[in-house]
Amino acid sequence: MIERLNQKRLVIIAVGLACLFVGATARVAFLHLRFTVGAGKQTVIGKGELSRTLITRRGAVIDSSPAANILALNIGARDVNADPYIVVSNRAVERAATELARLLQLDRRNLRELLGQPSKRYVGISRDVPELIARQVSSLKLPGVYTSETTVRQYPQGIFLCHVLGFVNVDGAGAAGVEQRMNDFLKGSPGLREGRIDGLGREIYIDRKFNIMPQEGADVYLTIDQNIQYMAETVLDEAMEQHRARSGWVIVERVSSGEILAMVSRPAYDPNRFRDACDEEKLNRAIGYIFEPGSTFKPAVIAAALNEGVVAPDTVFDVENGRWAYGGRILRDYHPYRRLTVADIIKKSSNIGAAKVSLTLGDDKLDSYLRAFGLGRAMGIDLPGEQGGIYLPREKWSKLTPTRIAMGQGIAVTGLQMLGIIAAIANDGRLMRPYVVNKIVAKDGAMLYQTVPVVLSRPIRSQTAAVMRQILASVTEEDGTGFKAAIPGYRVGGKTGSAQKPVPGGYSQTDYWATFAGFLPLENPKLAILVTLDEPQPLHTGGVVAAPLFSKIAEQAVRYLDIQSPPVRVALKRTGR
């Protein structure tokens, strides 16, 4: 009896030990042997092994205002993909196509074709799907359909500042604007995770071999101020509608440093939907479109002549009563005058007067001054697509060339170049390199890049610049061509321009570029602003069309930036009692 009992106990113990042994061995085997995994786990490089690229986030683009407004950032999204082999094997083509078409707003027939290809193991269904919709797709548990993590670039304010910001293409690389120029800083670097997965395809945390965290892209801080940009955009949009203009551009620059506070180009596009935009809309006209500046260019020639000492502000020129034959061609003035001083040539915008000053200066000197003012080369702004304009080499000049250049014909500049000339006069003769990126800061707060203002050249002396500022101030006085640019409480300097557009065989009689380029306050200039409307109708002169826009933008900008006009000194007369 006792023997039998002992035998029974032994068997129980043996069986128990065997079970324990088998169970433990099974568990160890489960953990250590390698298993195959299902569809959609592309990150698995072998049986049970995992190698996953950890996606990085592109840095944000932030404006210069104290509120540091975010203008571009990356947010999470998912790509929806499928393994058609599994979809077909599970006879789920019809159901998958129907459900995916409903959730992703896609064509059902196309989806059916896409999913019904058993020879393929991967097809992309939809990219950058919002998380919420992606979750709905996952919850359907469609065989062979899976989602993968990605990020999508978002521009929360739509078309606002689109030409400066640019956009990011489908491969995640910057393809225009700051996004393109600062791509190396913005893009960051992806991380890597290598390890193992269990039989259910889950990562075994304790078996991680590498876990290199992704390095997020640095944040780019612009010189653009969101509020000044908004003022400029609103004013230009209204004017575009009012004057039925074909296009237009505005630049606001801080004269002492070359910082661009606002840059607007119209027509515009929404960078969130850059695929829908045409090239015309994507073009940043402020830097990538060249035009004949017309009379706006006269200050460059007059400043050169004054700086060289060949004329003085009160030197009188015979302006031929508005009609002058030179080099076998007739040159006309918009308003006929008999005699004008150099100062009045600017104020009344006399073509004949400017041409005569140009001839007095001489071709070689004119050429060297204009090159010093930045003609014939790009200004070097930190944006892609900047044009250098058209400026004939001195050797190719004809007898007429200096007379035409003096009135802004026969050359072509970008808005940025034209503003550079005016800003140089406002900045004591120093031509500054314009820039839109102020600094670049890494996620850990380290400063990676800080822009330092650069003086490109100094075409004129500060005394000449001071004289030119006084002359340009007369343009916005009551009898000047740009009187509509005036702002109550401030003295403004500037120049109007109404340039006929070149057409085959000559110049158009109906299509103009209307421009005003100016600065303020006159006594201590802080801001330079350029406004151009392309083909405004029916009014087309810079004084009527562009000058009021300058006034509207400048008036708000000086209030916003708290730029005060120096107090007017009133000479008190001593009165005896």
Partner: protein, 129 residues
């Protein structure tokens, strides 16, 4: 015939002690290993859960930042003001009151005055004399 001493002679197959010992040792080792592994995995799951949570929170922060940026856009602020019938204009120069930094003399005077006000009256002092 002498009776068989059952205590000294067991019938049937006896499992060798060495084998049993080996099995017990292996099973114990396995159990210990599994126990430690289980604990490590539990911690790993917790870490992964927190990693996921952190990612989700960062994502939420980004979405909020994006939304906040959109709301704060000057165009939307202007629209909001219009909805509420608020018209905002820039103040005229003469409407602006500028408060400059206090001069050194004013600061010294302020300091002296502060010293005076901090002085506590002693007992028995007539407060209203």
């Amino acid at each position: 015939m002498a009776r068989k001493n059952r205590r000294l002679h067991a019938d049937g197959y006896l499992v060798p002690t060495l084998l049993i010992g080996l099995l017990v040792l292996t099973a114990t080792g396995c159990l210990l290993y599994l126990s430690l592994r289980g604990k490590a995995e539990a911690l790993g799951r917790e870490i992964k859960k927190l990693e996921t949570q952190r990612t989700a929170l960062r994502e939420r922060l980004r979405v909020e930042e994006s939304e906040w940026s959109r709301i704060r856009a000057p165009g939307n602020v202007v629209k909001a003001l219009e909805i509420h019938g608020i018209q905002m204009t820039w103040p005229r120069q003469e409407q602006i009151v500028r408060i400059g930094a206090p001069s050194t003399m004013a600061r010294n005077l302020k300091g002296e005055l502060a010293g005076v006000t901090r002085r506590q009256p002693t007992l028995g002092t007539m407060l209203h004399d």
